[in-house]
């Protein structure tokens, strides 16, 4: 329960959402060709490697972005607090605190990406004769994420869902055309 509260905390929404969306989209880009029947059918090893790739890229990219943002926040605070020495706050507990926060959120983003990448991959693994099933379910999952996000930010759930589905469709087309794995 404690971990669930940590994961769903408002401050970590960006990490969670980025990971979930990134996992599906990157998988579409990398593996849409194979999922849709170009080349060899999907197998467990490829599925795991693609998901691991999603974990690594999502986690690392998020870490760099988040750590940069948090360090910049410390620099801004130094200016607001009129601290003479540059980088002073980074040497306090705050420096360690932002580092650990960035690592924890990057791990969350990576794991979310890994899990969401497994959705299209496992469907393609278990239903190799119905390739479109995996794609359609993944696009629906993106649509559901869009509805949840739209509601969370008090935007239009329909527009959010459409945007994510369009993004997913474009990634699928690009992945089919590129046929990367």
């Amino acid at each position: 329960m404690k971990y669930l509260r940590w994961v769903t905390h408002r401050g970590r929404r960006l990490a969670l959402v980025m990971g979930l969306v990134d996992g599906v989209l990157t998988t579409m880009l990398l593996a849409a060709g194979r999922i849709l029947g170009r080349g060899m059918p999907m197998n467990f090893s490829v599925a795991l490697r693609v998901a691991a790739g999603c974990f690594a890229t999502a986690g690392f990219v998020f870490y760099i972005g988040r750590y940069t943002e948090l360090r910049a926040e410390l620099v801004r605070s130094e200016a607001q607090l009129n601290l003479a020495r540059r980088g002073k706050l980074a040497t306090t507990h705050l420096g360690r605190s932002v580092l650990f926060d960035a690592i924890a959120e990057a791990a969350l983003s990576g794991v979310s990406s890994f899990m969401s990448a497994l959705l299209p991959l496992t469907l393609a693994l278990f239903f190799p004769t119905v390739p479109l099933f995996s794609i359609v379910v993944s696009l629906l999952a993106l649509g559901i994420m869009g509805i949840v996000l739209g509601n969370a930010v008090r935007g239009s759930p329909v527009m959010w869902a459409i945007n994510l589905i369009v993004g997913g469709t474009l990634m699928t087309l690009a992945g089919f055309w590129l046929h990367l794995v």
Binding site: E73, L74, R76, S77, Q80, L81, N82, L83, L89, T92, H93, L94, S97, V98
Partner: protein, 94 residues
């Protein structure tokens, strides 16, 4: 010299550290018996606070170090009470 009470004017960034983290950092210094943190002003990016610390044989340098290492900034020492008992400020008769 037995420092019994300190009143400090302290600033911190709005986001970090939290008041709880700051209080915990001060409470961790030897001799501290009670801490009061009162927010006196909130700006867009900074929070101004009065911190009152009471105890026995308070170590001023260690308290400042604890506050700064938590990520806040001490602006000034506004009150200090030293001795075997706490002597409140006497109002001037003038």
């Amino acid at each position: 010299m037995n420092i019994r009470r300190l009143l400090l004017d302290v600033d911190k960034a709005s986001a970090r550290p939290s008041l709880v983290e700051l209080a915990a950092a001060i409470d961790g210094v030897d001799g501290v018996e009670a801490v009061n943190i009162t927010v006196t002003e909130i700006d867009i990016e900074t929070v101004d606070m009065d911190i009152t610390i009471e105890g026995n044989n308070l170590d001023y340098d260690k308290i400042i170090e604890a506050i700064e290492s938590a990520g806040a900034v001490v602006h000034s020492l506004d009150e200090i009470i030293v001795g075997s008992k706490i002597l409140e400020r006497a109002e001037s008769q003038r």
